[in-house]
Symmetry: C2
Subunit: 229 residues, 2 copies
Amino acid sequence: MMRQSQPRDRGIPEATVARLPLYLRALNGMAERGIATVSSEDLAAAAGVNSAKLRKDLSHLGSYGTRGVGYDVEYLVYQISRELGLTQDWAVAIVGVGNLGRALANYGGFVSRGFRVAALLDADPEIVGDDIAGLNVEHIDELEAVIKRRGVSIVVLATPAAAAQELCDRVVAAGVTSILNFAPVVLSVPDTVDVRKVDLSIELQILAFHEQRKADRMSGGPLMAVDSQ
Amino acid sequence: MMRQSQPRDRGIPEATVARLPLYLRALNGMAERGIATVSSEDLAAAAGVNSAKLRKDLSHLGSYGTRGVGYDVEYLVYQISRELGLTQDWAVAIVGVGNLGRALANYGGFVSRGFRVAALLDADPEIVGDDIAGLNVEHIDELEAVIKRRGVSIVVLATPAAAAQELCDRVVAAGVTSILNFAPVVLSVPDTVDVRKVDLSIELQILAFHEQRKADRMSGGPLMAVDSQ
DNA sequence: ACGACTTTGTGCGTCGGTTCACAAAGGGAT
DNA sequence: ATCCCTTTGTGAACCGACGCACAAAGTCGT
């Protein structure tokens, strides 16, 4: 029925992919503390998910556990890293070196594994030429050249909203197919390109919604609700 | 059948809540450009979603459209704002004034509507006392006092991973029930508390996964795929 | 060598979300 | 006043994800 030699199914669910980094982080922490083996129960707790979900997620990569024992931490770290593509290293360019771009450039967390900030670019002549986190800020005119010369395959957009779409277009035209967008705009791109969005304002608004609902419950109370029953 | 006077259903789907800010942003842009009325088709395009989905989302707030015409932009802005709780203003405290905390403090985008940065807190005596974005950085010892005195109801955690859980506990103990977490850790909180997580490293890893898959397709080629048929 | 125990991997029912497609509703023209 | 045209609001089918619960598989102790 199913091949043993080729357990990796190319159709890993998106929800699973989104959790693999979480598992990887928990596993790295355990590896550092010298833990050799971990059960799905414990790993799930560390990652904050249901253990059945974790097992199903891992089963999409292959049968890497041992029944009655659990998972080998080192081995699982390697398998997940490989699946996520972290065994190669990715050159990342940060476009827009305002407060946020600067913070990202200095953020050690994501440079650690697999990613390397290969370029910082900005349009402001005031900023171009500055050294930030050991890198020289280059002029945005160099965008296409820098992407090609340094093999940049992931671009982080940290520009004002007004500039984002145009820069996005240029980045896509230069062959980049993975973009992490911090600008508060909906980017339109060909569907060969992956865009992930991080939007601080939206996150706050979602929190506000729930906070308000909690406040309503307190004052109005479920017993006083107009439409209860 | 259905009440006309109280159309608001208190059970708005989570997926819908997450998109309301998107619609709101698009609508604000239209209002600024003097557009009075918009169809679900146009608004959906501006927000980058399917028009049926948009209509169903809006229908959860009530029947605010006019058939044959569309939605009144101003009115819809008001209704969504109210639903999200943006008609009141929320005092936000930023805990951790490193590169990221600083960027957030200076980020005008989310201060604009409904949110106000009411406090900046840090543990580093080097930073405490500095003025950032017109605010004085206070010592983390003041955390509980500041939260209560200024009515802070949303806290943004922008601390190193190691400090996040402890500060989270203190913040929760001080009565805060909405947290936006930038630290790369899984926070454990009572389930009365809402935590939303923004994790740059995870976003990059997800991009890397897809980028790798695209690369595999190129070299291996769909025609050579082991399991195609 | 065997039995008790632990833990994985997964079949299956359930649920929330998405999309299609259409009937109902309103506007405007004649 | 009536008909046509546009656009909303939603019923219903579909799809992916979640979590329970359990059989299969492997370990460890005797």
